[in-house]
Every structure is written in structure tokens, then in C-alpha cells.
Symmetry: C2
Subunit: 418 residues, 2 copies
């Protein structure tokens, strides 16, 4: 796997990048299968070694020995807020503004509904066509349920800011496009929203744990995010929701469960919302899922989100350079913006035979994924992806194309899900 090309970059160059990488040692925090190049941390992050131990302790000691007393003794009841405060550090929020709860989709419902209640006279919910479908679907479900008195306006990705008008209750976008990795200018769109009296809601699914942002500095109104991508929280990990303190007094949302009550253990029959971010919680926290998130978040804080971003951009830049040098001739295009300030931590290639190519590449133990209609997607989770991995991934992809491995019959049938 030390193939040389005529280009200036060689595997030796990549190895030198790795030796110079200030966060290279953190790769050892993760359990990674032998011989696999894992470029799908944007879909499911890798397992932090400490997570396995922590979850086993919950089973063996907390649930197994403490039983129901774990709620107090092991602070199960407080974990949603403990982890929320930690995530806050990664996204420029303050303690008490983030809580780990439910799923991204459910949290989208809460914050869009909350925005509707804060802008009762406005009827437009604005988003872009690059938003992740679940965000759009959740808004559609809400609007439908409310009797279609609102409309969802869907515009091109680069037309969001200028599409906000006086009827816009809220603009809701995912900062980083799940297919292409294109990154929105959150500050600009949030400012444009506020200029028209609208609210700005951000989905940070592909942001948290890979791109440094400052929610409070840009005065974002609400945000949601995902635990299982760059935060390495495990498959189907709980999500998070952000609401800034300036909204806490007036905000309301419709999913009013008992643990969002100001005094749940009174067991009264009238809902009274808790103060602060806790009103976004409805139910008992999912302890196994939440506990499994903690090590990944702690690690990320220690790695330094600035370090992670710097390396991530170097990785994606290297990948795009190698693709340009070695893969364009095989029919690939690059759908991800070349400007570093306009992309997240993934690179999307286009190819008409993308599905089969990705299957052939996975057979070579290089793991990325495919998205309709023609996107061959690679995520570069900086804490555990090496520069040499980037070289090897491209080399394998070259082999797949040159040897026409992707034409094998077993790679032709689409089978979801990855």
C-alpha cells in the first residue's frame, strides 16, 4: 500500500503529516477494528474505549447493585444536564442552556413549536433544500397537525438569508449538509433572521464535535444536535437541545412530560414548566444511552475543538487534492465546497456508479457510505483518522476503479441501511 503516483504527494508525505499531528495520540482513545479505514464517523462515531468500561459499570454496579437508588446515588437523574453542560462547551453555549434528551427529530419538534409560539402572528417556516429530511418532515408533521395554517418555504441553500421576510416565524437549517458537507454561515443567517424579527434554529448534527461554533455570540435562538456522529455517543445515542437563557422565561413547547415539570415529585395534575432548559425534558433519561455519551464528550473537550477542526480541514483538503490528482479521470466529481470556511468534516464525491463503487471499497475495508442519487461520502473524524488513512483510502479507490472491482455482481444490489 505504498504505491507512488506522479503527483507531489506520496504516502510518505502523509506519514510525515501524521508524525507532525499534535492530536495523533488521541486515536488510541478509540477502539477501532484492525485493518479498517473508518471514514463514516459522520454517520456513526467510533467507540471510545472508556465508554465500554463506563457502560459495564452501569450494568454491574449501578443498575445491578444499586437498583432504583441509582437515580440518586449515581446521579442518573442529573445526567441529562451534566452532559448538556459539557456539550455547551463545544458549541459556544453556557451552562444551563443545553440538555441531553430524546432524539434530534423530537427536539426539532420542540424548538419549531416553541418558535411558532414566540411568533404567533407569522405563518412561514423557512428552510433550505439541503436540510436533512427529518427536520423538514418534523416541520411538515407539525404544520399538518395544526391544520396547515402555516407554510414551509423551502429555498436553495444559498438563498436562505435573503428569503427571510416579515412573515417568517423561524428559519431552520442544518449547518452542514449531510450529503455534500457544505457549511452555512450561521452568523449571517441568524443576523438576517433577527433583522426581520424571525428566529433562527440550527441543527448541529454534523457540527457538534467537529466545527467550533459560538451559539451565544451569534445569538442563535434554538439548536438541536445529534449524539452519535462526531460526539461518538453510540448507535442511536440521545440528542441534545439548546435554548439560550434570554428565552428561558418566555419559551414554551408542547411535549410537556413529568420531568419537565417544575416539581415532578409532587405528582400534581397541572403541568407547570420547570425553570430553564429542564422544561425541554419530558421523561426519565435513557441511562445506558446517556452514560455511553460521556466519555466521547469528555474526550472531545480534551482534544480541543479548535485542534480537531484544524486537523479535519487538513484531512479533507488532502483527500480532495488526492482525488483531483488520481480519481477525476475515473469519472468522479467533487460535490463539497473547496473553500475551507464553506465545508464541514466530510467530502462527497459524485459518481454515476457510486453505490457499487462504495460496496467494492467497503470490501477492501475502507468504510464510507452512499447517498442518493450519486453521492459517495467520506467523513473525516479528526480524533481517529490519520493522514495515511486518507492516502490509503484514495489508493484503494483507485484500485477499485482500475481493476473494475465495482462491476462484480455482488456489489450491484442496493440494500439499506448503512
Amino acid at each position: 500500500m505504498t504505491a507512488q503516483t506522479s503527483s507531489a504527494t506520496t504516502r510518505a508525505t502523509c506519514e510525515a503529516f501524521d508524525r507532525a499531528d499534535p492530536i495523533r495520540a488521541y486515536r488510541d482513545r478509540f477502539r477501532l477494528p484492525e485493518g479498517v479505514i473508518y471514514l463514516d464517523g459522520n454517520s456513526l462515531g467510533a467507540l471510545p474505549k472508556a465508554t465500554a468500561d463506563r457502560v459495564k459499570k452501569v450494568l454491574d454496579v449501578e443498575w445491578g447493585e444499586h437498583l432504583v437508588d441509582g437515580w440518586l446515588k449515581d446521579n442518573w437523574m442529573g445526567l441529562s444536564e451534566v452532559l448538556g453542560d459539557k456539550i455547551a462547551k463545544l458549541i459556544g453555549a453556557d451552562a444551563g442552556e443545553v440538555i441531553v434528551v430524546d432524539t434530534t427529530s423530537i427536539n426539532v419538534h420542540k424548538v419549531i413549536a416553541a418558535a411558532m409560539l414566540m411568533r404567533p402572528d407569522r405563518r412561514t417556516l423557512l428552510t433550505d433544500k439541503g436540510n436533512f429530511p427529518t427536520d423538514v418532515y418534523m416541520a411538515q408533521g407539525l404544520v399538518e397537525f395544526l391544520g396547515r395554517q402555516h407554510r414551509i418555504k423551502m429555498v436553495e441553500e444559498d438563498e436562505v438569508a435573503e428569503s427571510i421576510d416579515e412573515d417568517t416565524a423561524a428559519v431552520f437549517c442544518t449547518q452542514i449538509n449531510y450529503k455534500t458537507g457544505r457549511l452555512h454561515d450561521m452568523a449571517k443567517i441568524t443576523k438576517a433572521a433577527h433583522a426581520k424579527g424571525a428566529l433562527a434554529i440550527w441543527d448541529l448534527a454534523h457540527t457538534a464535535g467537529c466545527v467550533p461554533i459560538e451559539l451565544n455570540k451569534i445569538e442563535a435562538d434554538f439548536a438541536v444536535g445529534c449524539g452519535y456522529k462526531y460526539l461518538n455517543g453510540g448507535p442511536g445515542a440521545p440528542a441534545f437541545v439548546f435554548a439560550p437563557k434570554r428565552h428561558h422565561d418566555k419559551v414554551r413547547q408542547p411535549l410537556t412530560g413529568w420531568l419537565g415539570h417544575t416539581n415532578p415529585f409532587e405528582f400534581g395534575l397541572d403541568y407547570k414548566p420547570a425553570q430553564g432548559i429542564r422544561q425541554f425534558r419530558a421523561s426519565s433519561p435513557p441511562i445506558l444511552g446517556i452514560v455511553a455519551m460521556e466519555a466521547g464528550i469528555d474526550d472531545m473537550i480534551e482534544f480541543g475543538i479548535g485542534n480537531v477542526r484544524a486537523k479535519s480541514l487538513a484531512l479533507t483538503s488532502l483527500f480532495m487534492k488526492l482525488v483531483e490528482e488520481r480519481l477525476l479521470k475515473h469519472g468522479f466529481g467533487i460535490a463539497t465546497p473547496k473553500e475551507t470556511e464553506r465545508r464541514g468534516s466530510q467530502v462527497a464525491l459524485t459518481h454515476k456508479d457510486g453505490w457499487a463503487i462504495m460496496q467494492a471499497l467497503k470490501a477492501r475495508k475502507v468504510i464510507g457510505d452512499f447517498r442518493e442519487p450519486n453521492i459517495v461520502r467520506f467523513g473525516f473524524a479528526a480524533p481517529y483518522v490519520r493522514f495515511a488513512d486518507v492516502w490509503d483510502a484514495v489508493e484503494n479507490l483507485v484500485q477499485v476503479m482500475e481493476k473494475e472491482e465495482w462491476k462484480k455482481p455482488e456489489f450491484q444490489n442496493k440494500k439499506w441501511v448503512t
Copy 2:
């Protein structure tokens, strides 16, 4: 702990009951702390030994080795339905009618909203004052969000059936009262609802895994339930939702996330609901939480819900008898119905000093809990509670009272949560 009383029942009698118990061997399936008498399985079920191994496998092999391919290779994507089909067997539903998803509270939102949409001209949501607060709160949040065009009518527990009228969209009750253990006649109330054209929604939080019911036989319209009580799914385990096949074509609910879409991996921007129960799913399933539920549910199917119910009633009857013989003189009352057909699997005692008494009892390693204002609550999870445990619990409670242990200062301060 072999104290004798003047009554006919002795510890030896209880030990004889244990020897004759046909499901006594199943206790060994659970990990139970040494020396603890655990009578709080109605709050958090005990840890099935197989669960610990199963979760460790997810960490070490599935997430750790298979990474994102676990969604297919380990059928993560299908677990919500696999477990739903298993739970269906415990509640008299058919395969394809139950799915494990979200939390009880979120599922309450879905089914009440669905019922509202199926009865658009009706404005009353009927419940009883014995319902668990979160069910009521979720309905309140929904009604409030919809601009209070609906009303929530709350009646006494024994007045539900006759309070249903032509304006009732749905009656929603928890079958078994979380405080007293009082059990609703689901067949009667469901029939009364249908007679008036209303729908019947059942919360099975304290039913699933301890009382045999027949959702389809009684033609229940929707149901929700909890994974962490008698199903032994772990702290904050995912919940489940039931919708019968006869409603699948017409039902809609507002939490329309991407995994409730008929073809999620098309990633289109228009929500089209999946066929069947899957439309009640919004998001990626929480794998650690779902996997942790499977052994407990498999075990329960093997134990036989009829066997579990028979033993549970014997345990609660024995407990009530011993309380009558030995504890009434210490100021205790019994809030749980004496008729077996009117109670679930718990017994609620009343005592004005209930909080302190329960703390003193817990110091003796007998674990129950307290609910406002004066309920001392004991749950009898038949698969792992022994008749001798019942004797010992009462004996310890007698000691707490006779020695006035509950008067110690450390037992006076209320501290939630248990």
C-alpha cells in the same frame, strides 16, 4: 428473621409457598444484590443476567467491530419491531402492531394526537384523577399548543365509563394506578367508549409484564407502555406504542420523523408515512437501550404471563394479610383494593410518617418507595420476589415500628428521586 406471631401464617408457611412456586427457579435469571429484598420492580425492574452480556456484546462486537454496518449486520434497524412483536405477545396484540420507540410520554403525545385526528369534531379528552401525571401533562401540552379548543375532563377513577359522552374524542387512562395499584376494567371502559363513538387509549406502564391483557380482544384503540418496570428493561429504557391493524390505514400522528417515512433512504423532502406501526417511529432507535430490553422480554414470555400474574396475586394477597395481622396497629392503612381482579402487582400502604418509615426500612435493605402524600409503596415482581421475602419485609417493617427506628433524624429529610 424467623420471628413467630400469633397468626396462622409463619415464615415456614411462606417458605413452603416458595417450594411450591412453579416459577421459583426463574429468580436465578436476575442479578439481585446480596441481602436486599427488592420490592420496587414497579419503579425499576431488576437486571436480567443475560442483559449484561448482551449489552457488552453490542459494545465489544457490534459497535466496536462492525461500526456503522451494525445497522444491517446486527439488525439494529429492525430491533424496534422485533421487540415490539415480542411485547405484543404479552399484551394480546398481533405482530406488526407494537413498536419499541421513544418514551412513554412522547408516545402518549402521538396516540392522543392520533385520536384527535380520528375524531376531529369532538373536543373532550377524558381521563381520571388516578392517571399518572405525565399522561395528563402531555395532553395538557397538546391542548394548550392547539389553542385550547379541546378540554381535558378529569373524573374520579370509578366514574370513567359513565363520563364518556358524544363530545369525547378519546378516553385515556393508565390501567393500573401508580400509587394504589387499583386496576381499571379495560374491557368495560373501552366498550363504553365505543358505544359513544369515542376511542380508548391505555397506558400499560404498570401492566406490561405483570397482568395478562388482551388488547385486540377488547378492541383497544391505542396503547403505550414502559420498558423499565415489569419488563426489566433498565433505567430509562425505551417505551412502546400499540396501534391495531384496523387503524393503520387511516391513522396519522404529528411526530413525523425520517424513520417513520415509507422510504427513509430515498431522502426525499416530502413526508410520506410508512405503512403499519412503523409510522410511529421518528428517529434512529437507541440501540444500547433497546438491546438491553430483549432478555427481560424474552424471559417474561418464557415465564408465562399467566404464571407471573398468579404468583403476583398470591404475593400481594399474602402481603396484605400479613399487614392486616401485624401492622394495622402501627397506624398503617391499605390503599390497594382487596379484590384480586381490581389490583395490579403492588400494594400501597398509607401512613402519616410514610417517608421516614420507608427510609428506615431501606436502611434494613428492604427496598420500596414513597409517594406523596402518605403512600408507602411495595411492588411484587413475581419472577424474582419470594414469599419468604414478603414475610421478611413485613417483619422488618414491624421492627422499624416497634423500635421506632423511623424517628431517627437521618430519615426525616425528603430527598428525591427514588
